[in-house]
């Protein structure tokens, strides 16, 4: 195994699972998430010399992941109806006492968000990134991250309100 493979292999071992989790929340399907991360890692491997020179390899690869997700999302939009809530109906969190159903409600609510808002939520609240770090990955300003977060949380308010009442 050459040094490139060793370096990339270590990066992959450390980062594949977090990428997989993010991918799942972005696309809402474990199998799609698997494919998404595989393609992301393949692209990262192909361009590893450039990736390894980045200030943050992780942020760089997350950008690849988001672009891959967006490419698939766009193709999906053009070829099949995207699972969206009917007009006038917002996602409602189910009975909070049912943990499994409640998670399904969260996933459903997440999928109702535009991809960019969803990415913002994933980076901010799954990855625990700061607004600055999130802005770095998304390639936008901190103000944009704030507004995207606010809009996303507004859309998720039914879920969040129901959750909050059970805290």
């Amino acid at each position: 195994m050459n040094s490139r493979d060793e370096e990339f292999g270590e990066f992959m071992r450390n980062r594949a699972s977090p990428l997989h989790q993010s991918a799942y929340l972005l696309c809402g399907d474990w199998h799609l998430a698997h494919d998404l991360v595989q393609d992301t890692l393949a692209k990262a491997y192909l361009h590893w010399p450039r990736v390894r020179q980045a200030d943050s390899q992780d942020a760089y690869v997350r950008r690849i992941l988001l672009n891959e997700a967006r490419g698939r999302w766009r193709r999906r939009e053009r070829t099949a109806a995207v699972s969206r809530f009917p007009e006038g109906r917002e996602p409602v969190a189910p009975d909070a006492t049912d943990e499994i159903t409640r998670r399904a409600g969260l996933l459903q609510a997440l999928q109702s968000l535009p991809l960019r808002q969803r990415a913002t939520i994933v980076l901010r609240y799954l990855e625990g990134m700061s607004e600055r770090e999130t802005a770095g990955v998304l390639g936008c300003s901190e103000g944009t991250v704030k507004s995207q977060s606010a809009r996303a949380l507004g859309t998720l308010r039914n879920y969040l309100d129901r959750t909050e009442s059970t805290l």
Binding site: V37, D39, A42, P49, I64, R103, A119, G128, T163, E164
Partner: protein, 319 residues
Amino acid sequence: MNSPRETQLGHDLHRLASGQPFTPDLAEIKQLARQRHRRGLMRRGATAAGAVVLAAGGLFFGVHGFSGDHGTADTAVGPTASAGGSSSTASATPGQSASGTMTPRLETVAYVAKQVEAALASVNGDIVRDDQVRTGLDNDSGTNWIDSRTGNEFMSLTGNTTGKSLAWLSFGSANGVRTATQVVAEYSTNTWYSTTLRLSGSAPQGSSVNQSSPVMTPAEIKTWVDSGKLKIVGHQSINGHNAIALRGPWALGYREMWVDSQTFLPGRIFVDYYADQGMPSQDLKLTGNLTWLPRTQSLVSMVNDVHVPAGFKQVASSQ
């Protein structure tokens, strides 16, 4: 500081996304990377070749003029001009009208489109040399020679991480379905392979012909032209020729075509991936500078006949 419900949201997201182990295999990732590289070769080839096929068929437009001023090389515009001319090219940012030499014009998009269509229809079997530079994540360069009569193409590509490759792309049909066959020789492994893709109907996964491909079918081009989304974004003096820039959207960003204001032949095509879509950009840009060359026997042979370097071993296209 996050509010309690934001903190709870974070916990819920972690629980939601946990519990599914994922242990990718390096060999599998490397295999995917190789396949991806090959798909990229096909996509690059089909981008240029598709343009000339359309040009030869009088369908014109859309694909053909890579433009913008991101190219590092000066460009000649017009029939039989040579690429890499000596005069300096003014620099401008796509989205702006190209340069300080910009002047107001009366041409409408419809007028320019009609002139370009006529110019391409009058091309008589030229061999088009397309010097491409791709910047961003995919940082490489290459030269395509395209037979405007057959649409076949020969490509020499040098990637910063993948080394040198040669590729021949030819078009045919099988059972009424248009196909593209590409033979690729890779110097990094001294191997070559052949692969065939369908160009119409439901394209197989990995084909360059999908919703995000820069290749456009005639129907898509007509839709693109008729969409009202094309606009003239500037004029620029390139090697003493005034060029007109047209811009239109495509699935993964936008593309521009720069045409000579006298001959109306495309001289440059520029594609910006993921531009203006509010998502992270990795600054992927592809610039192709076009030179229209007289049809000679040596050029025709170079483009249409496959010449795999001696000593190269054939491998399956999936390897």
